[in-house]
Amino acid sequence: MAQIFKPSADTWLRLTVLAVFVAVLGGGLLGSGFARSAYLTRVGWPVEQPVPFSHAHHAGELGIDCRYCHADVERGRYAGLPASHVCMTCHSQLWTGAPMLAPERASFAEDKPLAWKRVSALPGYVYFDHHIHIARGIACVECHGRIDTMPLTWRAHPFQMRFCIDCHRNPAPHLRPPDQVTRMDWSGWDKVPAHRTYGQQAMKRFHIDPVRLTDCDVCHR
């Protein structure tokens, strides 16, 4: 009986096994890399809006408080986007003829909401509540980044579960005095020795229990 396999068959088999191994490993690495890529998480990609609103100008240069426009952030689940009426409190006086603001004026005149694009949308099965985060002293900048430097708005952090759970597992370094949550620049905070234990003290004072914070029902229901 003639041989079924040629002498090179062994080599081919080894090569195939190796190729499969490399493909699986490479595919996995590529896949997970892709899942973390800015393309997928949209971190750092400015989002086109009907009106090219600049946080850098309004929040940074003019110093308008976040809560002037995102008024529900201290009271409810959503921070809320400003109603057209809120924009017009200033823009009925300033830049009244700017073509850039035409959609805004039209919205107000025609009583039709302006369709903004949500930059920081979470999946439907995640129930995030701004209200409690603000009350505990999670500063805006923790999730939204240096919004005061963004001429157009982009996502500062990947809103994937890891981002949320890292903080829920170890909230202390992220806690700030609740009355200063809208402060953007915290670079000098850790330099003051008294501030280094602030997080631990706040956890005690507010009875924050990281074990409880990582229960699934805290965010999913």
Binding site: T41, D72, G80, Y125, R136, V211
Partner: protein, 982 residues
């Protein structure tokens, strides 16, 4: 072949004997769920042994190769769903945000929905202007914050895709301008004749605004006439008070003061506008009894099982005519009337004696009730009995009828039918009534109505009556209109809209103006005009306060009737044949809720049927007629006949059958179309509730009925328990048996629930509330028949004793939230996990649908989404959903979460205020709806919490204690205070 047929016959005829033998062999107590269980039918075995009895039905017809290919492809593509960039959905802020609105925080408004003319006061929840849930109005003395299933489901009526969305002329959609022109023209015509020939036909109505508008209309057109048609009415009860006191009065029983209730076929706990109030009051008396303060004896004599009968300490099965005779026997025994020579069976005589003694033991705290469908003379005799035992003014009050009474009184509709037949009607305007479908068969209303020159229909739906009218005007739902109506205690609720109308619809009050040729109209202004002298104008604080409260806090003024006189009761011994009892359907009522999927899929009490009505027959009669569940039976009497599928009903009198109204609709394209059978053809104006001397025969047809009773059958012991009243006292702690698993729960709060089976009446309010709160999908009849209904909470019915005269038990079964949960041990992806406050969570975004958890669950409380049930929901139904709860997709396991969204909300609020969660701050949807407060939820780690105190009672037990899952949901045993279990 022949042998097999013979064999089958033998099995069927011996089913009864088998059941008897099964029961005879047992010395201990034996509870059973369905007749199939007693006869050990294969269907029951299958339901018990297989987790998913029909797992593959309807899933695929493909062969093995196709299945393997599909599986390979789904594996290959499994990761692809993740390969889309995180989207940037649109966000549409308000143009001007209302000042008091906080995004994501629901707002509540006090208002009411209307059922059978009565207001059901509610607190409506809106999310960004979208009504998502109705709760009872806590401040209202009648409901005290509870609701019934109809009220819960009224929300879906607002979003009903089958609603009429535009006016129609001759069945074709048109716009309002044509309607207005026709009305103006017709009004001129009526002006010339001073309204002669104008007939207004409405459903039952209690609205003061309607009364005012009607008075205006009558002033302008004095020759017009108003008629009422309400298929399920209280006419005989008003007739009875007229017989007894000389004027029609509405009875106002005070169950909270009753220590002994003797009910002659009066299902005062059953569905209806009074259910919430009656059940709440009755449960208060029952709880006093549990606490050792007096008796709470309930004795019921009835032909067919009812919710009240199921709770009775002594339930006696008697045919409808025997019940009437027993009223006389009791009257004779208590000296309230002549004691004629009555032939009672020893059991009946014994029951009457026991009833008499119970009433005499509790002077001034007894109450005798006779059903609203009993002969008026019998009901009048019951009123006389109440006078005799000193009940009037103590446990029984009266008030003037709360519903507006038409000029012809209870004969109103017959008068209209006669006038129509005689050609005396020119313009017929039908408002929120459906006589073409529901009129008594002997009046031949559909034909008579054709004689009217102009027929106008106004209602929420384009129904059978609308199709027979020239004009159809769509009306606003109660949640989008301004109106008023009176609740069962006579307090007037102001109805304010939770949302603007979605469609081109008008308010009823505006329609009434249009009818008089006046164009347009503002329902708010019309309502304000009614209340201008009482509450001032729009800016008046009295108006604003009343609107915020939701009702005018003035009960119906009590009436003190004179001495009760009762005419001699004509004894009507039943002749031969079968008695047919005609009753409203427990979930669809007279047909008005036919398009409401929450109510269609709501398992009906006892038989747990969904999406259909059935002819209820006693097992003995079924054996005689050779009927099995689903076999068609033809009922004929007086030349009329109906045919429907039979359902064997334990505890039904053997020569009585029960038919339920509301099905057999012909509404092409609508949800209710063609479901069940129509029982109205058997109904006549002379005998609306009972047909004697009927014949029943098997026809050979068969309908598969979808009942949920078997699919959740448990295997084990002692699901329901009874206990003496002393067991309602706290007992020594009852440590759980040892377990191999480490204890892992500590800290506070620890959530738990206690369900009192002693006060649960099985009314289904909790189930509907759960559907509404948790976005529970409705699956349809075929899916229910395959055991795939999705209710997170079910009410199991158990029987004890012989199928002919069993005792009844209700047991609501939500998730047990076991401390040692088997489901969590089974899940391969950790989607079923425990939280530190003791919740057993299902994490939908982790679940991959292996269904292992469900097969590990000994309580069968988990439900699997076999299909994407909500994928094809129209946008209006999507708007009804609770935004706080994820809408589940296909391939996901789901179950009761203890309303985790409410817990989280309370926790966040408490955290913001830096305090612990208070007892009673978290109220689950089922608990909030429960009329009898049978469900209590709270922190079990706090010994002072309400739930801990209940769990400390000796009668507290957990389901399937022997498997040591340590459920957080426990039950309080039913208190055995009667001779039922002899």
């Amino acid at each position: 072949m022949r042998d097999r047929a013979l064999h089958k016959g033998a099995v069927r005829s011996s089913a009864e004997a088998l059941a008897a033998a099964k029961l005879a062999g047992r010395t201990g107590r034996r509870f059973w769920r369905a007749l199939e269980e007693l006869t050990d039918a294969p269907a029951f075995r299958r339901a018990l042994e297989a987790e998913f009895p029909n797992a593959f039905a309807g899933v695929t017809e493909a062969g093995r190769r196709e299945v393997l290919k599909a599986m390979g492809a789904s594996l290959a593509f499994a990761g692809l769903a993740g390969c889309t960039a995180a989207p940037h959905p649109d966000a549409l802020p308000y143009v001007t945000q209302p000042g008091d609105l906080v995004l994501g925080t629901p707002k509540t408004y006090a208002t009411a929905v209307v059922f059978g003319g009565y207001a059901q006061p509610v607190l409506g929840l809106t999310h960004e202007g979208r009504p998502t849930k109705l709760e009872g109005l806590p401040e209202h003395p009648a409901s005290q914050g509870a609701t019934d299933a109809f009220t819960q489901a009224a929300l879906l009526g607002l979003y009903d895709p089958d609603r009429s969305k535009a006016p129609r002329f001759m069945g074709r959609p048109t716009d309002w301008s044509g309607f207005d022109a026709a009305m103006v023209e017709n009004a001129e015509r009526l002006d010339a004749t001073r309204g002669e020939g104008l007939r207004l036909l409405t459903g039952a109505v209690s609205s003061p605004t309607f009364a005012r508008q009607l008075a205006e209309l009558m002033q302008r057109w004095p020759l017009a006439r108003w008629h009422v048609f309400e298929p399920v009415n209280q006419d005989l009860r008003l007739e009875a008070t007229r017989l007894a006191f000389g004027r029609p009065l509405e009875i106002q029983p005070r169950f909270e003061a009753c220590r002994a209730i003797v009910s002659f076929d009066d299902d005062f706990l059953g569905p209806g506008a009074w259910q919430t109030r009656n059940a709440r009051a009755w449960s208060q008396a029952r709880r006093a009894f549990q606490g050792g303060r007096g008796e709470a004896r309930l004795m019921v004599a009835e032909p067919a099982p009812s919710l009240a009968g199921a709770m009775a300490a002594e339930r006696l099965i008697a045919s409808a005519d025997e019940v009437e005779i027993m009223v006389q026997a009791l009257a004779g025994r208590l000296g309230a009337g002549p004691a004629p020579q009555l032939r009672l069976t020893p059991r009946q005589a014994q029951w009457v004696e026991a009833a008499a003694q119970a009433l005499q033991r509790n002077p001034g705290a007894g109450l005798v009730l006779a059903g609203a469908h009993c002969d008026p003379a019998v009901q009048a005799l019951a009123l006389q009995l109440n006078e005799r035992i000193g009940a009037i003014g103590k446990t029984l009050g009266f008030c003037a009828p709360i519903l507006l009474q038409p000029p012809d009184g209870t004969r109103s509709f017959e008068a209209l039918a006669a006038d129509l037949a005689a050609g005396r009607v020119d313009t017929l305007a039908i408002l929120e009534a459906n006589p073409v479908y529901a009129a008594p068969a002997d009046l031949d209303f559909p034909a008579a109505m054709q004689k009217a020159r102009l027929r106008i229909h106004a209602g929420l739906h384009f129904d059978e009556t609308a199709a027979a009218c020239h004009w159809h005007a769509p009306l606003e739902h109660a949640l989008e209109t301004w109106d008023d109506a009176r609740a069962v205690d006579g307090r007037t609720s102001l109805i304010q809209p939770l949302v603007r109308p979605f469609y081109a619809v008008r308010a009823r009050s505006v329609f009434l103006q249009n009818l008089q040729g006046r164009l347009g109209g503002d329902p708010r202004a019309i309502l304000l005009a009614t209340w201008a002298d009482r509450l001032g104008g729009e800016a008046d604080p009295r108006w604003r306060e009343t609107l915020a409260r939701g009702f005018v806090d003035e009960p119906a003024p009590p009436q003190t009737p004179g001495a009760a006189g009762a005419p001699a009761v004509r004894l009507r011994r039943r002749g031969g044949g079968i008695t047919v009892l005609i009753r409203p359907d427990p979930t669809i009522w007279d047909g008005r809720f036919g398009d409401n999927p929450w109510l269609q899929e709501l398992p009906k009490p006892f038989n747990k049927l969904t999406w259909d009505n059935a002819v209820l027959v006693a097992p003995a009669l079924a054996a005689q007629l050779d009927l099995k569940n689903g076999d068609h039976v033809r009922l004929s009497a007086g030349g009329r006949a109906i045919e429907g599928p039979a359902w064997l009903t334990p505890g039904l009198e053997r020569r009585t059958v029960v038919v339920h109204l509301g099905y057999g609709r012909s509404l092409p394209g609508q949800l209710a179309d063609g479901r069940g059978y129509d029982a109205y053809p058997l109904r006549t104006s002379a005998a609306p509730w009972r047909v004697e001397g009927a014949a029943a025969a098997k026809t050979g047809g068969k309908t598969e009925l979808a009942s949920t009773q078997l699919y959740t059958a448990l295997q084990g012991f002692d699901f329901v328990r009874t206990a003496p009243v002393a067991a309602a006292q706290p007992g020594p702690p009852h440590p759980p048996p040892p377990s191999f698993y480490p204890p892992r729960l500590s800290g506070s709060p620890q959530w738990g629930m206690a369900i009192d089976t002693d006060t649960c009446i099985g009314c289904n309010a909790c189930v509907t509330a759960c559907d509404a709160e948790n976005n529970v999908p409705m699956t349809g009849k075929s899916q229910v028949a395959n055991g795939r209904e999705m209710h997170w909470l079910r009410i199991d019915a158990y029987y004890e004793g012989s199928p002919d005269d069993p005792a009844f038990f209700n047991q609501p079964v939500p998730c047990m939230h076991c401390e040692q949960a088997p489901c969590e041990m089974g899940c391969p992806v950790n989607a079923s996990v425990h939280t530190h406050d003791g919740l057993n969570m299902q994490v939908y975004n982790r679940c991959i649908g292996t269904r292992t958890c469900s097969s590990f669950c000994p309580y069968k409380v988990r439900h699997f989404n076999w299909f994407d049930y909500t994928l094809h929901d129209p946008p209006e139904l999507r708007a009804a959903r609770n935004p706080e709860v994820t809408v589940r997709s296909r391939g996901i396991m789901e179950k009761c979460t203890y309303c985790v969204q409410r817990i989280e909300k309370a926790r966040i609020q408490a955290d913001v205020e830096n305090r612990p969660i208070r007892d009673g701050e978290v109220v689950t949807a089922c608990q909030q709806a429960c009329p009898t407060e049978a469900i209590v939820f709270g922190d079990v780690s706090d010994p002072e919490s309400r739930v801990s105190k209940l769990k400390a009672q000796q009668r507290n037990y957990s389901l399937l204690e022997e498997v040591n899952t340590r459920p957080r949901t426990t039950y309080l045993a039913r208190i055995d205070d009667g001779a039922t279990h002899d």
